[in-house]
């Protein structure tokens, strides 16, 4: 049965490196930018939960080589509670980030209600961990580590969680879609559909393969992570690390619609659009259109007030 949508605004940028010295990334502005562009009006959510903006620190925090690692843990726990609360109310949780480190809190909240798989839509693997890069040379960015951390790789600070323990999701329960830089970094040991492969098989076939994998794994509950850099830079350049090839908006909407239509997806987080890289706001509207076209069917039944 379809459920009402709950919007959770997570104005984060703490998982990203500074775009230049002394400058904070602008992804914290995204929730407000998407709401102002009409997302709330289009989805008519049952509730909009507004989380605090975490403070950004440029310098290392104690005993961690992850930038803002301590702050990320604290706010991931808060986000986890918000997601858990939305799911407990039988609502579809739509988390507006923020950067990709919001995935940790989202999975934490989803996992507190039982096993939950992950479909990871991202133009990159986000699989950096201390075993595959030089942590001594610079602080790591959690937004480039979210899949590694979610699967239990990395510092205890961001891999061991109350109630759930470690990992937040098993390798076998992850499907990654859209990595365009597969040859450059260690490939995560999960089911993968690279950007190049998607170009060959098309969105419809991709959707069927993903659903088949979910059925094989008997995953009745799945979290959907959407790093908007899975889109081709020609349609969305306002992200931290744009690139090509990638999806276009109609392809992304079709894929989201197919996946949420299975009834298995309990929530979706949207990350990495940076309004400061989009000064005239031109890209907010197509993002809202894409999300609304894919998720509006979820709003037709439920506890909308």
């Amino acid at each position: 049965m379809a459920a009402a949508v709950e919007l959770i605004a997570a104005p984060w940028n703490i998982g990203l490196r500074p775009p230049w010295p002394g400058r904070e990334p602008g992804t914290w502005r995204t929730p407000q930018a998407l709401l102002s562009a009409g997302l709330e009006a289009r989805l008519r959510p049952a509730r909009v939960a507004q989380l605090d903006r975490p403070p950004y620190e440029f310098d290392a925090q104690p005993a961690t080589r992850i930038r803002n690692g301590v702050t990320i843990r604290e706010h991931a726990l808060r986000l986890g509670e918000a997601v858990q609360s939305a799911l407990a109310a039988s609502r579809f949780a739509l988390v507006l980030g923020g950067d990709c480190s919001i995935l940790l809190g989202c999975l934490l909240g989803a996992r507190r209600q039982g096993r939950c798989g992950l479909v990871h839509l991202d133009g990159h693997s986000d699989f950096r961990h201390p075993g595959n890069y030089d942590t001594a040379s610079s602080l790591g960015s959690a937004a480039g580590m979210d899949l590694a951390l979610a699967t239990g790789r990395g510092e205890l600070l961001l891999t061991h969680w109350p109630v759930v323990g470690r990992p937040l999701v098993a390798d076998q329960d992850v499907i990654q879609i859209g990595d365009r830089e597969e040859a450059e970094e260690e490939a995560p040991p999960v089911t993968r559909f690279t950007a190049q492969e998607i170009q060959r098989i098309g969105i419809a076939d991709l959707g069927e393969r993903v659903i088949r994998r979910l059925e094989q794994r008997e995953l009745d509950r799945v979290w959907l992570h959407l790093d908007l850099d899975v889109l081709d830079e020609r349609v969305l350049p306002a992200v931290d690390s744009p690139g090509r090839p990638g999806l276009d908006f109609p392809q992304l909407a079709e894929l989201l619609s197919t996946l949420t239509g299975t009834g298995r997806v309990v929530g979706l987080d949207v990350a990495i659009y940076d309004p400061e890289l989009d000064p005239d706001g031109a890209h907010a509207a197509p993002i809202v259109d894409c999300l609304a076209s894919a998720l509006t069917p979820l709003t037709t039944v439920g506890t909308h007030t």
């Binding site: 104690p62 005993a63 961690t64 080589r65 992850i66 301590v70 843990r73 604290e74 726990l77 961990h129 201390p130 075993g131 595959n132 030089d134 942590t135 001594a136 790789r153 990395g154 510092e155 205890l156 600070l157 061991h160 969680w161 109350p162 323990g165 470690r166």
Partner: protein, 169 residues
């Protein structure tokens, strides 16, 4: 400083406080170091004393080597350690925050800790290494502690130091 130590855990986080609180008391230790240069292991005796503190919101310990009985005739040498560990449960992080303040070499160490199954695992990331201090095999009269280092992100661990502890009282 009568307000420093406490008789028991705070009711605020009694369950979490018990994780380290069960170590309160005075322990004799045998400390073994495993040099990285391949030279033979080195053993020294020591003492380890734990107590609740700060209205039961913290667990402090004093780490000493050599044991007091071995320094009866002279003061502790300047390079022999008598250090203070402070462990405070942070409900916002759902972790223990830990600091060690050494008097012998000026060491200051920050770590984070959680109980994981039957062990209490403490960790810090330094440069390219992960360092873990783990309390294990904890009984009312004994426990084991090990200090390990990983240079490959936690895939493999090298044992640098371990402690066997026996309760004195």
């Amino acid at each position: 400083m009568k307000t420093l130590l406490a008789d028991g855990p705070s009711n605020l986080y009694a369950t979490e406080m018990e994780q380290f609180g069960r170590l309160t008391g005075h322990w004799a230790t045998e400390i073994t170091y495993y040099p990285t240069n391949g030279s033979p292991a080195r053993r020294v005796s020591g003492e380890w004393e734990f107590s609740y503190a700060l209205e039961g919101r913290a667990v402090l310990d004093v780490w000493q080597w050599p044991a007091r009985e071995e320094i009866l005739t002279a003061d502790r040498a300047a390079d022999q350690e008598c250090g203070l560990c402070v462990r405070i449960w942070d409900p916002r992080l759902q972790l223990w925050r830990f600091t060690f303040h050494g008097t012998a070499h000026g060491d200051q160490v920050h770590m984070y800790a959680r109980q994981i199954d039957d062990e209490i695992v403490m960790e810090r990331a330094v440069g390219s290494d992960l360092i873990r201090w783990t309390f294990t095999d904890i009984t009312t009269g004994t426990f084991h502690w090990r200090n390990e280092r990983s240079t490959d992100g936690g895939h493999t661990w090298r044992l640098d130091q371990e402690v066997s502890a026996r309760r004195l009282h």
